[in-house]
């Protein structure tokens, strides 16, 4: 490739890096930090020292507020000490006002803040001690504001690989991984069998095939959240027809178990997923079937091959590329399942996506959430690799 040719590819390369790699890179960075949104000392990626200036000012204002209230009840001889404290605090806060985000802090700056806090803490303690009978409000500042002001000096929250170590000891992660794998394997297996059958039928030249193709696509066309809602009605313990039929057949002991027991929810999620995505599988396979040369089938039938032989010797080998694509897409899709289960049962069986969501959004723990997400990313990569190795190494070389 000449450099001129490279120039033409460059925009594409930039696009790919920005849109594909950058989010993964960001997750990777998060996973190395103890990043928790609900804690102001860890609510971003801090590599160096920072000063949470807004909180420092807020707490300083509280001290000033207490002093103002105390001046109203104090005797005149205390005025000097109170006024001096107020003036010093105001002067100290002035340069930190107006910020909405934590600001960079040098080592000298951190020492200055600490020295100042030590000084006013001592002076407030002295003031409170000098007028014990007044019950000064500023004494509350000693318990609350001064310690909180000390916490505004934020150090780095880099933890390296500790998050990954935590993952290996996290039983819930492995339980969810097992759930996810069961869901993926079982649902994709049934989708493949039924989807293949559907594709073979739809590939037949027969009357009304257009209608069959259209109708069979309907489940796939419905948004997942909506179809999950439809299924919650069908599975409902008191009025759901599917739950009723399953109970009559003896598959479950009583109708409400379908949406409440561990096994029931797994089965419910798999059935809904198979119903929904089988048409997609069938469509991908049908596309593969249609490019197979009809002449091959004619020659086979001339040579006296039965339908079974034709299927295994002609259809399957020639369908392999489509099969690989269909299986790969569906497996990765099923592995990342979130919306179906979130709507159907509000999160049981818990899959990895749901766990990652709960940790990140529910608990505000972006650091560990990123670790789970990257572990999922790794699993997805492994699955893709496995498929390519087993089903079609030559496909990637084209």
């Amino acid at each position: 490739m000449t450099w001129k040719q490279f120039l033409f590819v460059l925009p594409l390369l930039l696009l790919v890096t920005t849109f594909s790699l950058y989010p993964i890179f960001t997750s990777g960075v998060y996973s190395l930090f103890d990043y928790q949104t609900n804690d102001q000392t860890r609510n971003a990626v801090y590599t160096g020292s920072k000063l949470n200036a807004p909180l420092l000012v807020e707490d300083g204002d509280y001290l000033l507020f207490y002093l103002r209230k105390d001046r109203e009840i104090a005797s005149p001889e205390a005025y000097a000490a109170i006024d001096a404290l107020s003036a010093d605090i105001s002067a100290f806060l002035a340069p930190y006002e107006g910020h909405r985000q934590p600001i960079d802090l040098s080592e000298a700056g951190a020492e200055a803040v600490t020295a100042f806090l030590d000084d006013i803490e001592a002076r407030i303690t002295g003031l409170v001690g000098a007028y014990p009978e007044l019950d000064l409000r500023v004494s509350a500042g000693l318990d609350n504001q001064i310690p909180e002001m000390r916490s505004t000096i934020v150090g780095s929250n880099f933890i390296g690989l500790a998050g990954y170590r935590q993952l290996f000891g996290d039983q819930r992660f492995f339980d969810d991984l097992r759930n996810t794998l069961i869901f993926t394997l079982v649902s994709v297996f049934f989708e493949l069998i039924i989807g293949m059958g559907l594709a073979l039928v739809m590939n037949r030249p027969m009357r009304g095939v257009g209608l069959v193709r259209t109708v069979s696509l309907i489940p796939w066309a419905i948004p997942t959240a909506v179809s999950a809602l439809i299924w919650t009605y069908l599975y409902d313990g008191t009025s759901g027809i599917v739950a009723r039929v399953f109970t009559q057949l003896g598959l479950i002991a009583s109708p409400e178990l379908l949406l409440t027991s561990a096994g029931g929810t797994m089965a419910a999620a798999i059935i809904a997923d198979v119903w929904k995505t089988t048409p997609y599988m069938a469509l991908l396979l049908l596309a593969g079937l249609q490019v197979i040369d009809r002449g091959l089938y004619e020659s086979a039938s001339v040579d006296g091959a039965g339908p079974m032989r034709t299927f295994t010797q002609i259809t399957l080998p020639l369908l392999k590329p489509s099969l690989l694509v269909a299986l790969l897409f569906r497996t990765l899709d099923a592995f990342r399942v979130y919306d179906l289960i979130a709507v159907l049962t509000k999160g049981t069986p818990e899959t990895l996506s749901i766990y990652a969501y709960k940790v990140m959004i529910g608990q505000g723990n972006y650091g560990y959430g990123a670790v789970i997400v990257l572990a999922m990313f790794l699993c997805v990569g492994l699955i893709a690799l496995l498929y390519v190795k087993v089903l079609g190494a030559e496909l990637m070389n084209d």
């Binding site: 008191t238 409440t260 509000k346 959004i361 608990q363 505000g364």
Partner: protein, 396 residues
Amino acid sequence: MRKLTSVLLVLALLMTGVVSALASGPVVIKFAAQGDSTPATQAAIDAYNAAQSAYKVEWTDMTNDSGAMREQLITSLKAGSADYDVLSLDVVWAGEFAAAGYIEPLDMMLDEAGLNPDDFNAGSMASGLYSGKQYVLPFFPDLGLLYFRKDIVSEEDAAKLTAGDYTWEDLKGMAEAYMGQAGTVEGFVFQSALYEGLVCNANEFTANWTNLKGGLEAMKSFIDSKATPDNIMTYTEGETANSFVKGESVFSRNWPYQWNEVKTNGTITIDQVGVAPLPGGSTVGGWLLAINKNSQNIEGAFDFIKFLNSPDGQLVLSQTYLPGNNAMLEDEAVIANNELLSMEGFTNAMKTTIARPVSAEYSKVSDAIQQAVHAYLNGTSAIEDAVAGVEAALAQ
């Protein structure tokens, strides 16, 4: 000529000034609160908008799924958005929101307005007191209650219930005995789906986590008994209220709003309903009012939440909710608005309130309790595991 031009110019400028002042109108305050099946919230907003002209409050209707609402709020606040000025918060969120720096402390504004935090519902105010700073005012306090059918339950049993002189075992006996009478099909309905309501109910069954084993076993015995619906483990407040107001159940555990549900949507009449304290105590719930730290209109936002807690605002809210302003508990007009306040069973329940665990990482604690309790109730794990799981969660 030049003079005339400049006079005209000044006039024109004045005119545009007047016009734009007229066009700008009141400042809009956005209030994020859950949908209200009663007219109280809208009535309170209308009353505020009518009472002054500087601000106009608009209600942003949030989802009634509390967990989803919390996530929606956090996503918005974390991004530093000023989408909402006034936030209504579930009592258990305030600590976390305050710790994260999402909401504005109120002490100085309260002081300026001459309000004393001690004058408001203690439980609500305590849930919004973080690091010595007061972050909230009450929207409405709430507590768990036992509702029973006065027309079915015998007078003797009703007296026991109202006095709180019964155990979960007694209640189960009554539920089984009275079930089926007067068209009922269930004995007792409560909340045991996998969500925050499960923590409130488990808190009551275990008497504020003091009797973990006995309480959880009592809970499971209800679920396994014929006195509860087969799908009780999918029940939230909605299903519970639905069953009770349709006259399908004899007993139900729910928040005070169910009283109004009976009045507005009930197939049974309010005369058929009594309320009582719960055997293990009543979990405190309810909603708080807080101000988004990034709001552009903090003054207006405070003016609105101050109004909701003023006698005028409380009178409007009291048609559905309990007053958060203590003085209003004895206000005759408020009592006339809310007959719960004059009921013996209710005042008894007010005396036995219990809180949920207080933690800056409440959602994590709650999640762990939910998982442990739910797994035991649906038969996946043993009682020992559930007790150990809850104990570990509480120790966090």
